[in-house]
Subunit: 264 residues, 2 copies
């Protein structure tokens, strides 16, 4: 007789902080697919990119926020949360790491600035298949129905057939009802960027300060991008890599630069 | 008669902070190759990855640290420095952006955690060719002679023939004298990672806290990697991309996952 298959361990984190509605919705969506353990930042950490905490020590506190779920809040960044969870909470690698559901888009170039996605990438570096989820709606009162439904479908598929242990998926969900969603598309990252515009103000002492603002501008007309899919009410999945070598440019330099070593 | 060619504008930043010896050495190495403008963090920002400052405003102050060089210290991250420099200091794109010289290695997976490299990547997103420089020696008293010599050679080559406006190079310099350096190699990023080991301590009130430590472990036996080149006394150059799409895995998912939309 075959032994009952062990329940997969699902590590959940985010970058909006452990009290954000998005992480609660993610937990609800997948909690019966395995044993869920939550380690998430104790405060919002948006825009932290792949930051890690070197100069100050980290705190980790057990919290009772989600019924029947082991959960901890951590004073560090999303990447710190993943590292601490594996080393000091689970004491082994989980079967999968989920990050989110982020309040706001992480499509296109946002993947680089996103704490949500950096947590997922960190897990994949550690050989833990992972998925970051983001909903394009920033508001605290956002409707997570479609996000919850599709997060569950994608996590089930990933648990059944993970492409490999270093696989990390960037999943974005459009602002749409369950009925409006047209389906799930695998996409490439659109080439887009922020056009910065710092707002300049004076403090009460007459000294200047600057607020970072910016407009997201898409330069990519492809219909195979995440930006296109989301604008057309599809869920977008972009598989992400952490080998950042630009192989084409490597070849170009090897052929054209004369300052390179001739041997080897 | 041909007009005299305009001097290129060289933006310099770093992540160790504007008072670090590394940035002074980089300025010295290239200051006669163009008009140098410095915008760098007012304090160390190591390990900040691609973090940006959203929740607090930024300060920018002119400083007189480098003879004859326009320089500013900024309260934000390395990425903030690049954004502010372009929008509020230069009011146009510089011809090249240089970041460093970092005190410590940014080879292999370090590229993901590095503020030095994130500043360079941010510039490339903005269509400014850029180079991040890192010396494998952490110490404040490090010998920058070889780093200075090769930084200059590489910047000259990049100004003469930049592969394209989105080109960003990750340059690492081994701990070696000028005579010991064997040359310059274009490499791929080695597959390596940190094996985390958090040190657990108790504060005077009996509460636990954790220090992040970790050992760098190289899993990559290739002789075409940055780790190999550096161990063999070569300067390593890895061209870096910011399209993080994992195209192979994209194909794999498209073929094998049955939750995807059939149309289009």
């Amino acid at each position: 007789m075959e032994k009952e298959k062990k329940k997969p361990v699902i590590l959940i984190t985010n970058d909006d902080g452990i009290t954000a509605p998005g992480i609660k919705n993610l937990i609800e969506a997948v909690k019966d697919l395995g044993k869920v353990v939550v380690v998430a930042p104790d405060k919002p950490q948006s825009g932290m990119g792949h930051a890690i905490t070197i100069g100050v020590p980290l705190r980790l506190h057990k919290v009772n926020l989600f019924e029947g779920i082991e959960a901890y809040q951590c004073s560090g960044t999303p990447v710190d949360c993943v590292k601490l969870a594996v080393d000091k909470v689970l004491h082994h690698k989980p079967d999968i790491c989920l990050s989110g559901i982020n309040h706001g888009a992480n499509h296109s170039i946002n993947v680089i600035y996103s704490g949500t996605m950096s947590a997922a990438v960190e897990a994949a570096i550690e050989s833990i298949p992972s998925i970051g989820f983001s909903l394009l709606d920033y508001s605290l009162e956002a409707d997570f129905s479609a996000a919850r439904k599709y997060a569950r479908i994608i996590v089930e598929q990933m648990l059944q057939s993970p492409p490999n242990k270093h696989c990390v998926l960037n999943v974005n969900i459009p602002i749409a009802t369950v009925d409006e969603i047209k389906g799930v598309k695998v996409c490439r990252q659109a080439y887009a960027k922020y056009e910065e515009d710092f707002i300049e103000r004076n403090d009460p002492h007459g000294r200047k300060y600057y607020w970072l603002t910016g407009e997201f501008v898409n330069f990519d007309e492809g219909t195979d991008t995440d930006v296109w899919a989301l604008a057309n009410n599809y869920i977008s999945i972009v598989p992400v890599q952490f080998d950042l070598t630009h192989y084409k440019q490597k070849e170009h330099l090897e052929k054209n630069w004369n300052i390179l070593s001739k041997e080897g």
